[in-house]
């Protein structure tokens, strides 16, 4: 079990401050749900953690050590939002997943591992030779998920991974996320704008607005007694909220 800690992290793109002194803790073996609108800095924070953007200030610590963002084995893996751009269109999905499998396996073992991972995300292992262009959006995201799990990470950062998935898969993925988290003792930073989704997987929730965290705490508390006005607006916008209201009247 590993704890991921953001300590007063600031990230700038040129003059724009995308993340402004954020302190967050992804508890060991726990799930932190990070909610906020696009442009609020959620993804930037995630990219800083995996070393895709350098922080301008603060520290990112994995179990008290600075995160290693070099070398073949990376303890942090990330799943991206857009399944259309997160898979190389020129590689078969089998090759894509194989690339993320830690070295030291034989060819046959790797093939079995790919099949297992595909099965895990409810894809036909026979499709390992398909190109991303032959899959629909939802199928691609499942491949991206299999790739992240393939890396045997200690912390997984899931950036809006279900926002492009259809509900039946979303449910299966959310169940899968909970299952993996419990079985492998994974710590997960789960970024989403869908509060119903975050509520289901996360035990802690942080709300981000314009680069800052405006509210954080146990999921049950934040979602039932929001302390910030923006949290209330978010709760109000959950799809189906009105439907429930309508059928109640």
């Amino acid at each position: 079990m590993s704890e991921l800690l953001f300590e007063d992290v600031t990230v700038r793109y040129g003059r724009l401050t995308a993340v402004d002194g954020v302190t967050l803790r992804v508890p060991a073996g726990g799930v932190l749900g990070l909610v906020g609108e696009s442009g609020s800095g959620k993804s930037t924070l995630a990219r800083a953690a995996v070393g895709l953007v350098p922080p301008a200030g603060g520290r990112i610590l994995l179990d008290g050590e600075p995160v290693r963002a070099h070398g073949r084995h990376r303890p942090l893996q990330m799943v991206f939002q857009d399944p259309y751009s997160s898979l190389d269109p020129r590689m078969t999905i089998g090759e894509t997943i194989t690339e993320a499998i830690p070295p030291g396996m034989s060819r046959a073992q790797r093939r079995t591992e790919v099949a297992r991972l595909l099965e895990l995300v409810h894809l036909d292992p026979g499709r390992a030779s398909a190109y991303p262009g032959q899959l629909s959006g939802g199928q691609r995201q499942r491949v991206a998920l299999a790739r992240a799990i393939a890396g045997r990470p200690r912390v997984v950062i899931a950036d809006e991974i279900t926002s492009a998935l259809d509900v039946s898969i979303q449910g299966a993925i959310l169940n899968l996320v909970r299952e993996l988290q419990r079985e492998l003792g994974l710590s997960i930073l789960f970024i989403s704008h869908n509060l119903a989704v975050v509520r289901y997987v996360a035990d802690h929730v942080a709300i981000m607005l314009r680069g800052r965290v405006v509210e954080q705490g146990p999921a049950a508390r934040v979602l039932s007694e929001p302390g910030h006005e923006y949290t209330r607006a978010l709760l109000d916008a959950v799809p189906g909220h009105r439907l429930t209201a309508r059928s109640a009247t």
């Binding site: 020129r90 894509t96 690339e99 036909d124 449910g171 704008h193 509060l195 916008a237 429930t244």
Partner: protein, 648 residues
């Protein structure tokens, strides 16, 4: 090379220009390879009796000052000319690749240095650079090849840098980096394959340029030296005797022209055949204007439909979309029938791959060229859309149908101001003047609730937030007076608060102007907020067509119920897994004979596996395709499928 790439190369060869250019290049290459052997003797045969003769039957282009046959010398020179041009191109490509990929490999600081150096080199005219290098490397063929090659390198390097930057920004590269794949390996495995096509095209065009440049250097006496000769050298000799025998200059000039042109044309036609999608990687279907797909005009089918009720906006019967595939055609949409009335909002829900998008694309005639669309009826406002591509049809689609896609970022051209892009559609379809069109664009931006539309219209897409872009996209659809808005996952890429705004906007437009809406979403909750009626799709079919208010309690199809139950809600119990639909959606390449849902359905019986249930009206009032259609049992778990009486 995968199938799609092969397909595109074939497409290039099918155009007349592509074919001609390829044939010419082939001839030149064959000449370069086999040419010298049979003609060597004749090209070098000295005939002192026939010095500086004009064209004759024996010597087509006359002879030179030693009486050697010029026509044969030109043919013989093909090898050296083409060979040197190719060598120079190879030098340029290699140097360009090294310089172009250096920023990626060296990291940010060193990379910036290389980029800067390339920028400076590009500022010098190519010929000047070539002359400079020619002087540095000394007079002669090798020096000239190096000079021309290196002179072309900066331009090629910049092309590589630009293309690389585009691909490197995509998430799959980030994913590979996070997986610990090294930079060199990423370059070789992910980046280069994705930019190879434009590079090959550019190198081909570059070879044509190198050929011309070589002729130029040799002509100036800086290139090939006697006794060797290439076309430039022959041209130089020919110009000297221009007044005695003009053919001596014309023949090599012609050779340079033909070979150079052939290479250029080949490059151009390949570029055209691959289209912008090879360069940018945008899905072709992201084109916002259905009218963009122009074609030969055919007689208009403008007769209104016979028996369609007046207020039907869209009438689709037995719509099928199929694609060729290795093991016979697949049919992702298999006989879809529905209609939409004026001002009605119809939702389409279903899992990924169920054919929702293809149905929408077929309606707006945007299915890509490989696909085949068949229908018994496909009427928009009474006009048959199935056949032909007449101006009237295009105008109708352009002004009466608005399309909103999932990804607002790729729906706009990043290099043009928003207002201008909106205005464009109006100028295109309604013949408005520039001023009037722009004024309308501003007005439409205001209609989609973009604040300060005057200023916003003058901004570029990247200055808009995702939600604003999506609203602007809807605004673009409203430039005409659409009777139908087709929105394919319009809010999937947006946050909840923005999603709420866009959904509210769609509802407002619909109610105020009686615009019909076809809203596609995988999210039942989204659809049920906006729509009057929901079409549930499974494996390319509509399995249920029901009023929205029956979704939660009155659904008759087991799939509809499963889909509704799978949405996480703010009150889903946290202590057990979310209800999911077991198994996988059907692969369109492998559709079972009976009900496509049978493998996942808790109620499936033998009949379900044998016979495909038709979409028929159920006694409770709406259409459903299920042998065991019935209202939701009070306790789903308690029902045993075997006890169900078969409904007809």
């Amino acid at each position: 090379m995968n199938r799609r790439t092969a397909h595109r190369w074939l497409r290039v060869l099918r155009t007349p220009m592509g074919r001609t250019a390829a044939a010419l290049v082939l001839v030149v290459l064959v000449l370069a390879v086999v040419g010298p052997a049979p003609w060597n003797a004749r090209a070098d045969a000295v005939d002192t009796a026939n010095i500086l003769a004009g064209p004759s039957a024996q010597h087509w282009a006359g002879t030179d000052n030693l009486g050697r046959d010029i026509a044969f010398r030109v043919l013989e020179a093909t090898r050296l000319s083409v060979g040197l041009a190719l060598a120079a191109t190879a030098i340029g490509v290699v140097a360009g690749l090294l310089l172009g990929t250096a920023p990626w490999l060296l990291g940010r600081r060193l990379g910036r240095l290389v980029t800067g150096a390339v920028q400076i080199a590009i500022a010098f005219p190519g010929l000047l650079l070539a002359l400079f290098f020619a002087v540095v490397f000394g007079v002669g063929a090798t020096g000239a090849a190096l000079a021309i090659g290196l002179a072309g390198a900066p331009t090629f390097a910049r092309l590589v840098q630009t293309l690389l930057a585009g691909v490197a920004a995509r998430d799959f590269v980030a994913a590979a980096r996070i997986a610990g794949v090294g930079r060199l390996r990423i370059l070789v495995r992910h980046l280069l394959p994705n930019i190879a096509e434009p590079l090959v095209v550019n190198a081909t065009i570059g070879a044509g340029g190198a050929l011309l440049a070589f002729a130029g250097l040799s002509f100036l006496g800086l290139g090939v030296q006697a006794p060797s000769y290439d076309w430039g050298r022959l041209l130089y000799d020919g110009i000297g005797v221009l007044y005695v025998n003009p053919a001596a200059a014309i023949a090599p000039a012609l050779a340079v022209l033909v070979a150079g042109l052939a290479l250029n044309l080949l490059g151009e036609s390949v570029a055209k055949g691959f289209g912008m999608d090879a360069l940018v990687g945008l899905p072709a279907s992201a084109s916002p204007s259905p009218a963009a797909a122009a074609g030969p005009a055919q007689p208009a089918a403008e007769r209104p439909a016979d028996d369609a009720p007046d207020d039907v906006v869209l009438d689709v019967r037995d719509l099928t979309v199929s694609f060729p595939a290795a093991a016979g055609p697949i049919r992702p949409v298999r006989g879809v029938t529905f209609s939409i009335r004026r001002g009605e909002a119809v939702g389409v829900v279903g899992e990924s791959g169920s054919g929702k998008s293809l149905t929408a694309l077929a309606v707006s005639r945007l299915v890509d060229a490989a696909g085949r669309v068949d229908a018994d009826r496909l009427h928009l406002l009474g006009t048959d859309l199935r056949e032909g591509d007449s101006a009237a049809q295009r105008r109708l689609l352009g002004s009466s149908l608005a399309m909103v896609f999932q990804d607002p970022a790729s729906s706009f051209n990043p290099t043009q101001r928003i207002g201008r892009q909106l205005a464009e559609t109006s100028r295109h379809h309604h013949g408005l003047g520039r001023r009037a069109a722009f004024a309308r664009a501003v007005d439409r931006l205001r209609a989609v609730r973009i604040t300060d539309p005057d200023r916003r219209a003058r901004q570029y897409p990247h200055e808009f937030s995702g939600g604003m872009r999506q609203r602007a996209m809807i605004g673009m659809g409203l430039m005409g007076s659409p009777a139908l808005i087709v929105a394919d996952e319009p809010t999937t890429a947006l946050d909840v608060t923005v999603q709420r705004q866009v959904l509210d906007l769609l509802t407002a437009i619909r109610t105020s102007d009686a615009v019909a809406l076809l809203l596609i979403s995988h999210d039942v909750a989204v659809v049920s907020e906006v729509c009057d009626r929901v079409l549930v799709m499974y494996a390319g079919r509509i399995v249920e067509d029901l009023p929205t208010d029956r979704l939660t309690t009155g659904a008759l199809h087991p799939y509809t119920r499963a889909l509704t139950a799978a949405v996480p809600r703010m009150d889903s119990p946290l202590d057990r897994p979310l209800p999911v639909i077991p198994g996988r959606p059907v692969d369109p390449a492998d559709v079972p004979p009976g009900c496509a849902y049978a493998a996942r359905c808790p109620l499936a019986s033998q009949r379900c596996r044998d016979e495909d249930p038709p979409l028929a009206r159920h006694p409770s009032g709406h259409r459903v395709a299920c042998w065991h259609a019935r209202p939701e049992p009070a306790h789903a778990e308690a029902v045993r499928p075997a006890s169900v009486v078969e409904a007809s």
